[in-house]
């Protein structure tokens, strides 16, 4: 356990020393989301309909960008060898890396998402649920993304391959999250969708550590 906490602390510190990486991802999030008013025209009622979708898709893509190097960087500088030969379970260490990635990427995205939602005229009823879906859904994104990142270590065209692996796995998260916010805006209960969302994240949590550890052991061979 201590090993995992040490790894989380190290990764958060590393991200903190390169704040421009987080800034890049946040800037991508804001810019990608603010592009849509140009594409759709400024009518608030149409914007409002697509707002949740845009927030979620851009959040997903931004998350993906930061996952690209999650394990690849460890392989390239030789750190993976040290992680694999450490006496702590590799499952736990892989999970710790995902947690650190979530803290440094998803958390800032969640914090600024209300701003983006406002830019897109999301109806007032949707904010609370939007935040809830992000809190419940992004762990699943990061975990499935972690599987993709571990699988694509040392692969040719790692980035695009990662997207190809992760996007289909995360589509259900996207669908339930959007459905939940839609329900809230329509005055219905978002609860069933939120439960499914939480269920997906829990499911991801149960399989991701094993899938990541298995792939990383192969990568270290």
């Amino acid at each position: 356990m201590n090993a995992a906490f040490a790894l989380i602390a190290r990764d958060v510190r590393l991200a903190w020393r390169h704040p421009n990486e987080i800034a890049t991802i946040l800037a991508f999030f804001v810019i990608a989301a603010s592009l849509f008013p140009f594409g759709i025209g400024p009518e608030p009622q149409i914007l409002a309909r697509v707002a949740i979708g845009i927030v979620w898709v851009t959040a997903l893509l931004a998350c993906l960008m930061s996952l690209d190097r999650l394990f690849q960087a460890e392989v390239e500088d030789g750190s993976l060898d040290l992680l694999v030969t450490a006496p702590a379970p590799l499952e736990l260490l892989a999970l710790a890396k995902v947690v650190a990635q979530w803290i440094t990427t998803a958390l800032p995205l969640i914090v600024i998402s209300p701003i983006v939602a406002t830019m897109l005229h999301l109806p007032a009823d949707g904010y609370a649920t939007l935040l809830l879906t992000l809190v419940l859904g992004t762990p699943g994104l990061s975990l499935f993304g972690g599987i993709g990142a571990a699988l694509s270590v040392n692969a040719r065209r790692g980035g695009a391959l990662l997207a190809l692996i992760v996007l289909p796995l995360t589509v259900p998260i996207l669908i339930f999250a959007v459905a939940a916010v839609d329900a809230a805006i329509a005055g219905l209960s978002p609860r069933p969708h939120l439960f499914l969302l939480a269920g997906l994240s829990v499911f991801a949590l149960t399989i991701a550590p094993f899938a990541m550890a298995a792939s990383l052991r192969q990568a270290a061979e």
Binding site: A3, L7, R10, D77, L82, E221
Partner: protein
């Protein structure tokens, strides 16, 4: 500290990329022993060290610690093994001290040997320097200082003197001698002369062995 221990290989074979790198390899080192791996480039020294570290599995045969196959209890084997490979595994933005204390915690140990580790490789004055400012030899010394920061009975060193100056090489030899005195085992691959009392030399890639 470690007591009696033995590390041995029986009929070991290594396959990389579908090709046999070595086979029918045998050796035995006892507590306090030093095994020096020699052989031409590509003979399989690094592969053997990675196998000893549990990073790759043997294609045939087994590695035994105190007579037990290391594959039977990989957790115990990882706890007793410290591996220092070709790469330094340094993060440019982290300081030397941060690297060492992270490594100790990663291996589940208290971060109380950092000062000793810095001292052993004359790194004390670089303790707060980020790794990106270090020279090649200084980086290598940080990688080696990990061995002291998080002690383990079995040291696996892949060309540890690469890039070290004479003074640092002497410090490494001192560290190895001290480790062996407490009953530790050291396996080191090298192309150079390596000082060490009654070291066993294993030369890979010779006709007899292949």
């Amino acid at each position: 500290m470690i007591g009696r221990a033995s590390f041995e290989a029986h009929d070991l074979a290594c396959l990389r990329g579908g090709r046999i790198v070595f086979r029918q390899l045998e050796f035995r080192v006892d507590a306090g022993g030093l095994l020096v791996l020699r052989g031409a480039n590509g003979a399989g020294k690094s592969s053997l060290l990675r196998m000893m570290a549990g990073l790759i599995g043997p294609a045939h045969g087994a590695l035994l610690w105190n007579g037990d196959d290391i594959a039977d209890d990989p957790d115990a084997h990882r706890a007793r093994t410290s591996y220092a490979g070709h790469s330094d595994a340094l993060k440019p933005a982290l300081t030397v001290a941060e690297h060492l204390s992270f490594h100790a915690k990663l291996r589940g140990q208290a971060a109380d040997k950092i000062a000793a580790a810095l001292d052993a490789f004359a790194l004390t004055k670089f303790a707060d320097l980020p790794a990106r400012l270090l020279s090649q030899g200084q980086r290598k010394r940080v990688a080696l200082a990990r061995l002291i920061a998080a002690p383990a009975p079995l040291w696996l060193l892949d060309e540890p003197t690469n890039g070290l100056d004479a003074d640092s090489t002497a410090r490494l030899e001192t560290a190895i001698a001290a480790h062996r005195e407490t009953g530790g085992i050291v396996v080191a691959a090298t192309h150079l002369d390596f000082a060490g009392a009654d070291a066993v030399t294993l030369t890979l890639g010779e006709r007899k062995a292949a």
